[in-house]
């Protein structure tokens, strides 16, 4: 079995995971502020900002020419090519979105911590809507980035962005669950978490099913590696059991009665599962085969 070795699955997996947390975390922050929920917004702003920084650290860590990056991007911007590339490359879109979100989240962090004076701008409706929108776009980008790679059929699938949005939403809900203590909010998070868990399970099953039976050999081999091959043990244990089944069972238990320790366990499991999902999907990538 020759899995792709172009992108390091752990490094890029961590990048996609942090990008998802930052993106959906921004959406959650915006929704909370717009809904006048003030609990733990400071902590959430720290998580979002740290996640973007870490996402950037990991994506740069996998570049093969990191030292050339600043000049190359400046040259591309100055020649105007970068702006044209926004219409064809998800990587160009991603670089732009992550830079914008970094700035937006930095101001949010400052407003929540040391520079309360920024309130006028950061608490404005347009700013919150923009932050939520850019955050959502970052999540979409993190899915399309790999779905737009025609060399690897298992990734080149429209279900990947859907799965990524659902999984990033699960991460954001998990982060909020860890932060927020209020029973009403916790209960709301449990309910939404359960709904997204179920949707993610369906999306995951669809991705595997389509890949197994689409007739594209490389995609079939990737899906097989996850379901019953070299990656199956990690997939069933970390993605299915820890990432989907345990949070779902705990979610149903929490619906009956909120319990802080169980909620923390469910959140931690969901976060681990989301990371494992990204790493394993990247690892399972197999290049298209040539023949006459």
């Amino acid at each position: 079995m020759m899995f792709q070795e172009v992108w390091n699955p752990v490094i890029i997996g961590l990048f996609l995971w942090f990008a998802g947390i930052a993106g959906m975390g921004s959406v959650a922050y915006a929704l909370m502020k717009l809904g006048k929920v003030e609990e733990k917004t400071k902590e959430l702003s720290c998580v979002v900002f740290a996640s973007i920084v870490l996402a950037l650290v990991f994506v740069v860590a996998d570049l093969s020419r990191p030292l050339n990056m600043p000049l190359a991007i400046i040259r591309s911007v100055l020649s105007g090519t970068f702006f044209y590339k926004l219409s064809t490359s998800w990587m160009t879109i991603g670089i732009s979105l992550l830079s914008i979100l970094l700035l937006l989240a930095l101001l949010v962090l400052l407003r929540e911590t040391v520079a309360k004076g920024l309130q006028k701008i950061v608490d404005a409706k347009w700013y919150l809507v923009l932050t939520g929108f850019v955050g959502f776009m970052v999540v979409i980008y993190s899915g399309f980035l790999i779905a737009d790679a025609p060399g690897v059929p298992f990734w080149n699938n429209s279900l990947i962005p859907v799965l990524w949005i659902l999984s990033a939403s699960i991460c954001a809900i998990a982060v909020l669950k860890i932060l927020v203590h209020k029973p009403e909010v916790s209960n709301f998070l449990t309910k939404s978490g359960l709904a997204v868990d179920i949707a993610e399970a369906v999306a995951l099953a669809s991705l595997l099913n389509v890949s197994l039976y689409s007739g594209v050999e490389a995609a079939r081999r990737s899906a097989e590696a996850l379901v019953a091959g070299e990656l199956a043990a990690a997939f069933w244990l970390l993605v299915v059991l820890v990432g989907v089944a345990v949070p779902m069972v705990l979610g149903f238990m929490l619906l009956r009665k909120e319990d802080r320790r169980l909620a923390l366990l469910a959140a931690a499991c969901a976060l681990v599962g989301a990371l494992a999902l990204r790493i394993l999907v990247l690892q399972a990538g197999i290049f298209l085969e040539l023949s006459l």
Binding site: L63, R65, N68, M69, A72, I73, T92, D148, P150
Partner: protein, 187 residues
Amino acid sequence: MRLAHLWDQSRCIGCGACIAACNAANYRSTTKDNPTWGGVQTNIKRIVFDLKEKPYILLVQCQHCENAPCVAVCPTGASYIDRDGLVKINPDLCIGCKYCMTACPYGMRWLDPDFGLPEKCMGETCQSRVKAGLMPVCVTVCPAGARAFGDLDDPNSEVNKRLKKGRVVRLLEYKGTRPKFFVVVGR
């Protein structure tokens, strides 16, 4: 101008002279490994199909696609289609994101371990040769005349002459890449 490669499977004797020449001309005969494909550092990949009934080989390289996914996904414009129709890389603009490598449906890019640059046909020496009106080295050294290179827009080019005579296939055409690498499979 739309420069294109042709490889005649029915004439190829599998001697590997084109592979060795590419390594010598474009990669200074380095004996270092190709970390992506294995084997030597060269832009031509040999794929052996060991089918019991009918074993065959394919020698493939960058297809210089007219609708090139590697060019589309490149964030900075480092990968681009030149006026001569060849897909080239500008090292000054390359950040080493390797997106072009995951986007190429043919797997025709490999990563240079020293410079972190995604390499592919044509190497720099061959580009200079073409500019000077010469053929790429693989075409020049082939002892069986299995290779041709030329302009698809020129009706008298060697590529066009051979295209008229042979039975020709293009690889993964259904991907919509409009490859400019022609494989002659018979007459």
